[in-house]
Amino acid sequence: MSEPLLDVRDLRVSFRTRTGVVTAVDGISFTVGPGDVVGLVGESGSGKSVSMLSVLGLIDNPNCVIEGQALFKGRDLLTMSDDELRAVRGQEIAMIFQDPMTALTPVYTAGWHISEQIRAHEKVSKKAALARAVQLLDAVGIPNAADRVNSYPHEFSGGMRQRVVIAMALSCNPSLLIADEPTTALDVTIQAQILELLKSLQSEFGSSIVLITHDMGVVSQMSDRVMVMYGGRLAEAGPRREVMRNPLHPYTWGLMASIPPTDGTRVARLAAIPGAPISPGDPDRDHCLFSARCRFVSDTCRPQPELVEHIPGHFDSCVLPFADRVELRRQAMTPLEVAP
């Protein structure tokens, strides 16, 4: 087993506020190997974005407290100096964000942006950097790259803009690409294109990808492994096929069930997970955070459950007996009596 590229150990991120401590990430641990595509799934507020932002030191809040370790190629990112971290960002770990329109400073051209990233890490002339930018734009499928390199962000369509951002992110051949909801702001038709692009680039360049999303559909297309986050903790983690065919955690059941089926009979009502996500500011966290919305909740859900490996490589943090899971899931999928 090769050395993991990224080894996150017990990462905790919290914010000090006037009303108390808000816990965004509550002790998660995972690894990303070279060439892996890892899907990080969760709803808004689950801590998925914050965890990756904190690893790169991109949280600009003086009241933020980060604990734990994030070992990248053996070095702990969380204890690096500013200069060392800056050398890692963009060059070894690249990140792309959700909304390509706001991710690019509107007053500079696409070529300028890509060239800025290249020249921040490598000693190249402006001309050489610009030439590489044209090549990159071409590689991500932007037609007429030589002209488009001088276009401004607002002159691209949404999908094209995201391609520019991807081109920029890959310009220095990073070993790891973190994609934070890369398709959420795009049309469904464009989503598929972007994911295809990411897949092809990943196999061509060999970089690992951490794909953050709330969309199980996106995960099922691309990832080798899936991690499900809830309330800042890992609910379930494992190989994609395993988790999608045989999910173990009630939250994952809910997520799978809420994908509208495209075959079979039409459902009268879309399934939703009732209740609302836990408030991150709530200090009472010594129990399974999903219990308030779980129909199988019992007294054993307190104290906070551990992450257990029932099947090799497949972890989950539910205390329900492992043997009963399949049956319980079937029960969970049966809709209750709907009130008239």
Partner: protein
Amino acid sequence: MWRFAGKRALAALLVLFAISVLVFLIFFATPGIDPAARIAGRNASQETLTQVRASFGFDRPIWVQYGLMMQHLFINRDLTSFVNRGSQVIPQVMQAIPVTLSLVFGAALIWVVLALIMGVAATAARGTVIDPLILVIGVIGVSLPVFWLGEVVNLVTQSRLHDTVFAWVPQLGYVPLTDGVGPWALHLLFPWLTLAVLYAGIYARVLRSEMVASMNEDYVRMARAKGIGETRVLIRHSLRTSMISIVSLFGLDFGALIGGAALLTEVVFGLQGVGKLTYDSLQNFDLPVILACVLYASFFVVLANFIVDLLYAWLDPRVRHV
């Protein structure tokens, strides 16, 4: 970009036309006023009045009057001040224009530079004591009556501390650039500073608030994620985008500046610019001079706004297609 400039130029011309019509209406169409008497000035003789009536067409329809007025002002340029008998108005105004321009541009340069420094410093030091300090300077600056500030500056530099600290301050008045950059700048130094105090604080405050807001934007986060150093992020990304709002603010202020603060500064510091000329003519109720000054001043305001529009489009590419 050229199409944009063309459209803006056309708009500017229309605005100039509208202003000229408005000025004309104010001075010549207000009920209960005899235009001839006003142009002729006080204590004018009967022949002068008849002369004026014919020359300006006061017995003809109002648009003819407007046309004739514009002709006198811009084409013939033979408008004479009837109070200072016989002195030509337009040449007077022409001489005054460089003074006003020197004052305004010098002051603007100083306050923009000051505002940039203060704004960037306040952003870099946000959360510390420097931040509210700049806010306070800004509020005080904009609350000071500029004419009063000028008088106080004069009091200190010309009288109270003139023999000691400020012995190098020359007499009040203007020295043309052709007589040397040194004397020209020295005479304009305190007028520049007086005007700059007024605006520097407020501009720094706006810039700071824009920049601090931009630091939370996605593109700043993206820039950091690219591995760009913090200084470069501050200047090349945050400042560059925030400057746009300063430019548009400047456009808005320039108009108020020319007719207002610059005028008052010229009066207080004895600079024979368009503002001082307007003021003197107000004292004597010399209508031709007032007219000419107002129109020429407005022309420069419109020109300045046009240049600001171009600058804005150059800075913010998103605007060019509008």
